[in-house]
């Protein structure tokens, strides 16, 4: 076993240790806490690089090595935990540790004024440990445990400013919504274990993702005539739906923006929400297993449709939002939908490529937004920002790069290449072309709302530059925005660089990423580029059209002082209201699911108080009655009977004692008569 694989478990263990130690530190020991977290991430990053390099050398097929350890033994069965190093793991490890490290460094600046600084780094380290645990897990059990830990870390970090009621509510919402998805994951896990007898993915042929198990799962049929593998895949996908914020469990992600911006960047853009996509990629052999290999399996079809719908749904909502982070949140939901779509139509490489590129530019965008918020003294409404490109040039530049990557501006930006792969795969999907069109619509909308956002935030004039004609402006002094410190802008620059260059590992000309994941050598072939030139052009046209339209609408407004009413809102007020209210999904859930739950809780409470308490009270009454009865029996029957018996005896003896009246002559008479009686008895008795 290669040494790195033996020590692969150190990669999540070190941040976990850092989290443990910093939880014991006091509030004032801020620097040690940050140092521990960052230090552990640095070491984990180097180890991940080593692991990645190891996976580059493989003789045939993808590199895959596992390490495992026995965890629990019941009788003859043993639950094993294992970790695996294969290309999927390698690339994810590098991405998570690298982006995580950059965000940790960013947080030093962002959270500098917060008094719970140490706590923040403790939670961040915990999160990093759990996320890395998901990545290296070879066992669905270990993955599930890390999955839940990630959910816990997300809860702690969303509700970091817990004294804000909205933050506490958002944390609860996130946890509960992802939990609903996790039920599916758990059920799928149980079913998988009972069907195949193992939870290890790869176990030298015995794992549940390997040939033998898959053949067994595909062959069995279950409810509704679908194969067991399909059923399990859909259940596992439920977990991904929850964690990655797909429709219908997307409601928690926008509210999760209550947390500090580094949290949003790390967890809700780059890594945790990507965990759902990663899960689907990890169990892809199970998902794609079907008896008809040339048609996409049912499970993957489900994944595709959910992803496609989510992509457009979230993009629509993002158009009508006014909070800078909320726009980015809906953008994340939409991009996650793209990733799922990619996984469904194109396979692991397509989906994962977009995941990797998205991680970088989304983290960049969030951190840039954080920088803007920080510079505007915690203002988050885009209508109140403006003209920031003059005050924060570095932030503006990096933000622009990130925005262009997200929109998919062609050739130089990674988003273009990764999104194009997805669109190309969708076009070649044999089952339906609808996802393809949805993807195109989504691309249009993405470019549209991102341009809107950037116009409002960075272009035009800031409130401090506006002529203050009204009385109230003189009273409120609007502070001039300032550029963030270099500890915050350096990571932005690094991420921007990667947002550009990462695109080149997945171009059709040199499909290195695809080749890496499948273990084949990559071939540089520019002719492939020529094949897809048509599609590339189409998407480029869409993107530029959207950007142009958006600029036309919003750039002039950005310079005006009245930004309250959006032109689209003026044009289509009804549509705008629906979009701004997120299609009223939250209200729908409140009216149905939550009300049902509340009703059930009230019913259970009534049941508990009336019925169960009633039963207990009745039992206690029965017991009291029994005891009263037995006391009565004891007093009247036993005592009374005894007393009566004694009285009877006394009466009887009183009667008897009348014989003893002291009259000796009577005694004598009695003796005489008794003597006669005795004689009679003897005489006639003995005859």
């Amino acid at each position: 076993m290669t040494p790195i694989v033996k020590f692969l478990w150190l990669i999540p263990a070190l941040p976990l240790l850092a989290a443990g130690i910093s939880s014991l530190l006091s509030k004032k020991q801020r620097i040690p806490a940050a140092a521990l977290a960052i230090g552990s991430m640095v070491i984990s990053f180097f180890l991940s690089c080593a692991a990645f390099l190891t996976t580059l050398h493989s003789e045939h097929g993808p590199f895959r090595e596992i390490g495992k350890v026995d965890w629990l033994t019941f009788g003859s069965t043993t639950l094993q935990l294992g970790w695996v190093l294969d290309p999927l793991t390698g690339i994810m490890l590098v991405m998570v540790t690298f982006v995580g490290l950059l965000i940790f460094i960013y947080s030093i600046g962002y959270m500098a004024h917060d008094e719970n600084f140490k706590q923040f780094f403790c939670f961040l380290a915990l999160f990093a440990a759990a996320m890395l645990g998901i990545v290296i897990a070879d066992s669905l059990l270990l993955l599930f445990v890390s999955w839940e830990l990630v959910g816990l870390a997300s809860y702690l970090l969303i509700g970091f400013w817990y004294h804000r009621p909205s933050a506490a509510a958002a944390a609860k919402k996130a946890f509960i919504t992802t939990r609903i998805g996790d039920i599916g994951l758990m059920l799928g896990m149980f079913w998988l274990y009972s069907s195949t007898g193992t939870l290890l993915f790869y176990d030298n042929g015995n794992g549940c993702l390997e040939q033998a198990a898959l053949a067994k799962l595909v062959g069995e049929l279950t409810v509704g005539g679908m194969a067991v593998s399909t059923a399990i895949s859909i259940l596992i996908f439920c977990g991904a739906v929850g964690k990655s914020g797909q429709v219908p469990l997307h409601v928690w992600l926008p509210d999760a923006m209550e947390g500090p911006t580094p949290v949003s960047a790390l967890i809700h853009a780059a890594t945790m929400v990507a965990a759902g996509v990663f899960l689907v990629a990890r169990v892809y052999p199970l998902m794609s297993a079907s008896l008809t290999p040339d048609i996409t399996s049912t499970a993957l079809q489900v994944v595709t449709w959910v992803g496609a719908i989510t992509a457009v749904f979230a993009a629509c909502i993002a158009v009508a939002q006014n909070d800078i982070k909320r726009i980015l949140a809906y953008s994340t939901v939409s991009q996650l939908g793209y990733m799922m779509l990619g996984l469904g139509v194109g396979g692991v490489a397509v989906g994962m490529f977009h995941l990797i590129t998205h991680a970088f530019f989304k983290a960049l965008l969030f951190m840039g937004a954080g920088s803007a918020i920080h510079g505007c003294s915690d203002e988050q409404d885009i209508r109140k920002m403006g003209g920031l490109r003059r005050f924060m040039p570095v932030t503006f530049a990096t933000y622009a790069i990130g925005m262009m990557a997200l929109c998919g501006v062609p050739l130089f930006f990674s988003g273009f290449w990764s999104k194009d792969e997805i669109i190309a795969s969708a076009q070649h999907w044999k089952i339906s072309q609808i996802p393809f069109y949805l993807a195109l619509i989504g691309a249009f909308l993405t470019a549209f709302y991102m341009t809107r956002q950037i116009s409002y935030v960075f272009f035009g004039k800031h409130a401090s530059e506006q002529p203050s004609g009204k009385k109230q402006d003189r009273k409120q002094e609007v502070h001039k925005p300032h550029e963030s410190p270099s500890v915050m802008t350096m990571p932005l620059v690094v991420l921007a660089v990667f947002a550009v260059i990462l695109g080149f590992i997945g171009t059709p000309a040199w499909p290195w990423f695809h080749a890496y994941l499948s273990g084949h050598p990559a071939v540089v072939d520019f002719s492939k580029l020529a094949e897809s030139i048509g599609l590339m052009t189409v998407s480029a046209v869409i993107v530029f059209a959207a950007i142009g339209l958006s600029l036309a609408v919003y750039l002039k407004i950005a310079t005006r002082s009245d930004r309250q009413v959006d032109p689209l809102q003026k044009a289509q007020p009804a549509v705008w209201t629906v979009l701004a209210n997120k299609f009223f999904i939250d209200e729908l859930y409140e009216a149905t699911v939550i009300r049902l739950h509340r009703a059930f809780a009230t019913f259970s409470d009534w049941l508990d108080q009336a019925v169960w308490s009633g039963i207990v009270a009745m039992i206690s009454h029965i017991i009291v009655a029994l005891s009263w009865f037995s006391r009565k029996v004891d007093e009247d029957l036993v005592n009374g009977g005894f007393d009566h018996g004694c009285d009877g005896l006394r009466e009887g003896s009183r009667e008897l004692s009348r014989f003893e009246n002291g009259q000796i002559q009577r005694y004598l008479r009695t003796i005489g008569v008794a003597f006669v009686a005795l004689v009679l008895i003897l005489m006639w008795g003995c005859k």
């Binding site: 002559q665 009577r666 008479r669 005489g672 008569v673 003597f675 006669v676 004689v679 009679l680 005489m683």
Partner: protein
């Protein structure tokens, strides 16, 4: 034949005096009739060839017991003179019935017993010498015990009947209390 008549006459006399002893009002008469009954029984003993027993009967019963009874009667006469006390208790009839029952209870079994068919010996004698010999040889222990018994009885009777000296002096010194003197006073 003459023996039979003697017995029947004796029996009748004895029975009459016994009935008299039990039925008369005057205590002294009763005592005297009792003595008569005892004498009658003694004569029957003699009739039955048990001379020593008969004479012992006369000596003891008639000579001692009857006199003793008489003494007791005389010593306790105070009460009877005063009030007109009824002779018999209220339930005297049940007493008579009881005794009738007893009589029947004794006679009837004996009448049915086969021992009655046994013919008696022609003569019987109880010479005193033989009696004395049997007393001293076979029945020496009962004889000695009897002596002790008589001693004890003597002592006991004296102790029981003896008055306390104080009480005696008190009652004698107060002439009102003395029954005879009281009678004299009245």
């Amino acid at each position: 034949m003459p023996n039979n008549i003697a017995f029947y006459i004796l029996a009748a006399l004895t029975l009459c005096s016994a009935i008299a002893a039990m039925a008369l009002r005057n205590m002294v008469h009763c005592a005297l009739c009792a003595a008569g009954a005892f004498a009658g029984i003694a004569l029957v003993f003699l009739h039955l060839d048990a001379e020593f027993a008969g004479l012992a009967q006369i000596l003891v019963y008639v000579g001692a017991v009857a006199i003793l009874v008489l003494f007791a009667v005389l010593l306790t006469r105070g009460e009877e003179i005063k009030a007109n006390i009824r002779r018999a208790s209220r339930s005297w009839f049940s007493g008579v019935c009881a005794s009738a029952l007893v009589f029947a209870g004794i006679i009837v079994p004996i009448a049915y017993s086969p021992g009655l068919k046994h013919t008696p010996a022609a003569t019987a004698s109880a010479p005193v010498q033989k009696l004395g010999e049997s007393f001293v040889n076979e029945y020496v222990l009962p004889l000695e015990v009897l002596g002790l018994l008589l001693t004890a009885a003597l002592l006991g009777a004296v102790v029981i009947a003896m008055q306390d000296k104080k009480e005696e002096t008190k009652s004698i010194s107060q002439p009102e209390n003395h029954p005879v003197q009281k009678e004299a006073v009245q």
